[in-house]
Amino acid sequence: MAMSLWLAVLIPGAAAILLAFHRQHQAQINLWASALACIAALLAVLGPAHAGTVLMLDAINKPFLLTTGFITLTVALSCPYFLEPAGKGGAALFYPLFQAFSCTMQLALACSNIGILWVALEGATLATVLLVAFNRTPQAVEAAWKYFVLCGVGIAQALFGTVLVAFAAHQALDDPQQAMNWPALHAAASHLDPTVMGIAFVFCLVGYGTKAGLVPLHQWLPDAYSAAIAPLLAMLSGTLLNVALYALLRIKMLTDAALATSASHDIPNMLLLAFGLASTLLAALLLLRQRDIKRLFGYSSIEHMGIATFALGLGTPLATFAALLHLLCHGLGKAALFIIVGAVTRKAGSRSTERIRGLLHLDPRLGWAFMAAAAAMAGLPPFGLFVSELLILTSAAAHQPWLAASLALCMVIAFAALLRQVQPMVLGEAPAATTMQTKETIALWPSWLQLGLVVILGLLMPPPILHVLQNAAIRISIPLP
Amino acid sequence: MLPLQILLFALAAPLLNGWVDMLRARLQNRRGPSPLQPWRNLRRLFAKEPVVPHTASWLFRMAPYVMFAATLLASSALPMLTVQTPLASVTDVLVLTGFLTLARVALMIGSLDPGTAFGGLGASRELMLSALAEPTLLLGLFSLAMTAHSSNLAVLVGHLLDTGMMLRPSFLFTLLALLMVAGVENGRLPADNTTTHLELTMVHEAMVLEWSGRHLALVEWSGHMKLLFYGILLADLFAPWGLADHASPAMLALALLCLMGKLAALGVVLALTEALLPKMRLFRAPGMLNLAFLLAVLGLFSHVILEHNP
């Protein structure tokens, strides 16, 4: 099992290096590498939990590993369609960085050392900066610069947090070498010094919060999303946001254990609640004003990240289970949505929500796919997000009724904004002026497969996945004695 | 017992109408036709040949019969001579208003069917007047039913008979409200003029314009019967003395006499109002009907709050 875990991480890395120097039929190599990585991840996840020195696997990072591998595969399938206008040079730049990015994602999830986790996330930022500036327009350069500066600063603050965690571990643990490994840290979590862990949590919250797009630190996200091309968007929203929250989740487990005895034990939860609510509110309000389709769904990502953080802040096992379910469904659904959005912008020939009209008439297949994906994001029934929002709201109403009411209000505003933007795009007459951009159409079956997975995760989740999520939730919400 | 009451009711209706017309003529110091004139009109109309507009459907011919039957049925439940009427156990006060509504709906459908200007005009005015008058009637009967804790007419009149007519404020308000409603429902002067044919003012007459022959006779007759229905209703509720409690011939004769006296008095009151009050503008009528509705609600409140005896 450890072998397949190593494979899951190393294959993308090797592919990145190979693609960097090898120019011919890069698309096939990229596809095969992602497929192998996904299979390796699947094999690793099916195996038992494993706590190695460099890589580790436990209930919490299993679901994320699987979804990241799967999303990488589906996005790789759609890459040729999107890279076709960029030509040979663009592809040569895109594929290696794409594989490097997926390698860093897998490494961040599977690594057992918090230092390596930080290095992997920093690597992910570096890999994506050039991709955001892929099509060289002034807006793209500006978005990339902002993305790079803001995420760089954020990640630096996260490094300070990691250092403080190591410092606290250094004091508590006997052998300093083990001071950075998750299993050791979790074991000794209750002996860590509360004040140090508190400050470390703050730094990590601001650092990884920037990467996850929580509100006061979210400004880079809409700009980066409006500039990036669709496959990158799918990867960013599908995996990067989840990994950032995964890291934050890990640190929160340590802090909860450390602060369990001290007076300010519920401050981390309060902070998460505050950040979650602020993100949902601001994202909902700004959703009303959007005119660019990619920016619109960028804000929708911020809103869903806010809801998940709010659920994590609640702290009960049910709320944490719902938060994990929400993250998984959102990752899968949003990745599928951005692939379809990319195809829609290519088909309708414009990115502004006011000029895309009557998709159902233009291309019924694409129209229905877009409508289904948007419904998934709006949290409508058959999809998993509805079930997770249902669980979150009911458990929130039980513990924090007033906050739950305000969260519900924000969700309603967001739903209204999304509906008001998406409905004219899909329904109604297609204006005659829309010229047919591309003749060949994108293969939509991967997106439909992902949306199907979201429905399965929601309504009829198979028992094995249910148990994995349940004991992950229990481990997160109830700190180890 | 039931067919006798229905027959008596049907025959007396034109007589009351004739009596009121004669009184009004006398007040305007002209001789006026004899009270039997409405009977003669009905006999003449029954003999004439009915004419039907070719734009009318089967509803036009069926409407008069439904109207006549509904009004007759409403009258059968009224305690005219004896307190206990056969149909009382089956229908109550609310069902009576339902029959009146059925009659009015049949009239309006009949008037709208040929699709002429007059039918539509009369129907739209009648729609407004009846839509505002009916709640007052319903509410008045409802507050009276509240006093007797039952909506069965016979029980209500019986209760009023044995508790005697002490002066209750709710009765006074309800009496005024019902008087106004009776005036409007029967197309009497404050809201509508029965004798006019002027497009600007007529309501009831406009609807009846297209019928002829036996259909017109039936419609006229049910109009008369409606006036008698209101007369008897007011008499029973507010002056129940003299009603026979069991069907012995002597008691019946006495009850008939009392009834004739009461109806005559009501005829005088109606004639007086017709002679004195000018025709109101159509859109002043809702003001009057709102006043009637207010009086009925006031009656209800005064009963509920002041005269509460569980």
Binding site: A408 | W58, A69, G120, E210
Partner: protein, 648 residues
């Protein structure tokens, strides 16, 4: 349970190729009949069966008990008639989605799921699924912007209601220690339960279209195809009432629900009056029916409020009667409204317009559907022998018994509500009469109306079935009340009506009041027949046809006829305060008369809220000003604030 499986199958099979359309409709009809049979079988004495299975996250506890059986009856009846009706109706539709069967199937399945759910999560799943499926049906003709706009508002209000309901269920689950309805019944009364109940009733009011939240109803129904708006109006609105009854009377025990009862009565009265006034002035035939749904739902809510009031002041027997009246009106209104909507569908088929101003004189061209429509109108207008009158009469009897209450204020509230009821009944009769007259009577006002053809046989058969059901429940209310007694006994331990034989129903005691519709009809028929026989003794030739009188100016044309707007003009003047009316004489030279009637609640409640949210988003936009240094400042600021917070 079988019914829901069939409905789901219908939904899926409709997704199949075009040829499966017929199969889908048959499956839908079968599921309707199945649910009708399940309801009847339970109410006539069968045991209540339950299904418990957990599938993924959502535990599927489904229980069929008397209350859900009563609501299954209208659903089954309407769904089976719609399956019959839809076949010819859909042949004419060429715009919009090609397969409406899918959404219809899922719509019916989710409604059945809501009725049977005995656990908070499947209830919510069904509730939101119902909203989504009906949204897909409302935007069936998504070419016109009006139906898109209606769909948008409809789904928004439905989703808002669903979220509020989620909050309420969360509070209740917290109080009772678990989301299962059985736990809720056992839970003791607590303060949070009262707040949760109020929230839930707010959500149900939004779904039932009561006054402040009714704007979606007059928009959504005309947009959907007729058989779907029949299903929505007849059944979906009742599901909200089912929720209200289930929570107020069965699940949540609250010390005193006085405040809630009074608000329900006032909201009910308000939506009755406003609903009927709106219905009076509408020009579109389906809007009139939609607004009259608002009025009838208001009536049912007032009855429920009355029942709740009686229960809190300790008169369980009267509460049972009021609840019985409410449920009876739910059944009657479902049948009548479905009949009228299907009638509207046939009219639209015949002269492809919904505008009353362009119809007229259809009775001669379409006698059968005209007669059925007349029956529906009379029934809904509460004319004695028919079924609309029975439930309103029972409600009046319930209001009449208010003298047994002690507190003076409450005792005066009920007669006021009775006053509103009286006014609404009168106006309802006027509105339905106007609807029937302007559609069927007089002369045809437009060429399509002149050339209207009778509806195809299947449509008439469907309407005929519904009309038969209406007449049956009108003449024999006792049968229905016997079934309703089971529900009121289960909920309030008192039968709704003391003696409910087939012929006569007496709510309290014989001396007080009783009503036998069959006898009433018998006497009317006897009198009418004997007068007709009396007059027809002398053999008459065929009736002579002449020109109707038009002051001698030649034959009256269709333009001389009164228009629907003019028919309602006097009443519109009287109630001008409730509506925002804009009349103006347009070009050329003031010969075109324009009349727009908008709902006043729109600019009293919805426009200010929308403006406030937009201004909020303008302020929020300042946060994203585009300057990198400002963003870095935010990051530094957050860090410092958090460090300060942490070091308390």
């Amino acid at each position: 349970m079988l019914a829901m499986g069939l409905a789901m199958a219908a939904g899926l099979s409709a997704a199949g190729p075009r040829s499966w359309e017929r199969l889908a409709l048959q499956l839908l009809g079968a599921s309707g009949l199945c649910s009708l049979a399940a309801g009847l079988w339970l109410l006539l004495g069968g045991p209540s069966d339950a299904v418990v299975m957990t599938l993924g996250v959502i535990p599927w506890h489904l229980i069929l008990d008397p209350l859900s059986a009563v609501f299954l009856l209208p659903l089954g009846a309407v769904v089976s008639t719609i399956a019959l009706y839809a076949r010819p109706y859909l042949l004419h539709i060429e715009t919009g989605f090609r397969r409406p069967g899918v959404a219809t199937g899922f719509f019916v399945a989710s409604m059945i799921l809501v009725l049977l759910a005995a656990h908070a999560f499947p209830f919510m799943l069904g509730w939101e699924g119902m909203a989504l499926a009906s949204y897909l049906l409302v935007i069936q003709h998504h070419e016109e912007s009006a139906s898109r706009q209606a769909g948008l508002i409809y789904l928004l209000v439905a989703h808002m209601g669903a979220l509020v309901l989620l909050l309420a269920f969360g509070l209740l689950a917290h109080g009772a220690g678990g989301p299962d309805f059985a736990q809720w019944r056992a839970a003791p009364a607590s303060a949070s339960a009262m707040a949760a109940l109020a929230l839930a009733c707010l959500a149900f009011a939004a779904k039932a279209g009561l006054v402040p939240l009714h704007v979606w109803l007059p928009l959504a129904h005309p947009a959907a195809p007729s058989h779907i708006s029949a299903l929505m109006s007849a059944v979906m609105l009742k599901i909200a009432i089912y929720g209200m009854v289930r929570l107020c009377f069965d699940l949540v025990s609250v010390q005193s629900a006085l405040g809630l009862a009074v608000t329900m009565i006032t909201t009910g009265a308000l939506s009755m009056v406003l609903g009927v006034v709106l219905a009076l002035v509408q020009q579109d035939i389906k809007r009139v029916l939609a607004c009259s749904s608002i009025e009838n739902l208001g009536l049912v809510t007032m009855a429920l409020g009355l029942a709740l009031l009686y229960r809190t002041t300790g008169h369980a027997m009267l509460a049972a009667m009021a609840l019985g009246a409410a449920l009876l009106h739910v059944l009657n209104h479902a049948l009548l409204k479905a009949l009228l909507f299907l009638g509207a569908g046939t009219i639209q088929q015949a002269c492809d317009t919904y505008d009353l101003g362009r119809m007229g004189g259809l009775l001669r061209r379409m006698p059968a559907s005209g007669g059925l429509f007349l029956l529906g109108c009379l029934g809904l207008a509460a004319i004695p022998p028919l079924n609309g009158f029975a439930s309103e009469w029972l409600l009046f009897q319930a209001a009449l018994q208010s003298w047994q209450m002690e507190q003076g204020i409450l005792r005066s509230l009920i007669p006021l509500a009775a006053a509103c009821l009286a006014l609404t009944t009168a106006l309802g009769t006027a509105c339905l009469l106007r609807l029937f007259a302007s559609a069927f009577l007089g002369q045809a006002r437009s060429r399509p109306a002149r050339r209207a053809r009778e509806a195809p046989r299947a449509m008439l058969l469907a309407q005929g079935m519904l009309a038969a059901l209406c007449v049956l429940s009108g003449l024999f209310p006792g049968l229905l009340l016997m079934m309703l007694n089971q529900v009121t006994v289960a909920l309030l331990h008192h039968p709704a009506v003391q003696t409910a034989s087939a012929l006569i129903i007496t709510p309290v005691t014989a001396t007080q009041a009783s009503y036998a519709p069959l006898a009433v009809l018998a006497v009317i028929m006897i009198i009418a027949l004997c007068t007709a026989a009396l007059l027809h003794t002398r053999k008459r030739a065929a009736l002579r046809r002449v020109q109707p009188w038009a002051c001698g100016l030649g034959p009256p044309t269709a333009r001389m006829q009164i228009t629907p707007a003019a028919l309602a003009m006097p009443l519109r003047q009287v109630f001008a305060g409730l509506l925002s009316i804009h009349e103006r004489l347009g070009s050329p030279q003031g010969r075109r008369y324009h009349l727009e009637i908008a709902d006043r609640t729109w600019d009293l409640l919805y426009a200010p809220v929308a403006r406030f949210v937009m201004s909020l988003s303008r302020h929020a936009a300042r946060l994203q000003s585009g300057r990198v240094r400002l963003y870095l400042g935010f990051s530094l600021g957050t860090l410092l604030v958090l460090l300060w917070v942490m070091s308390w």
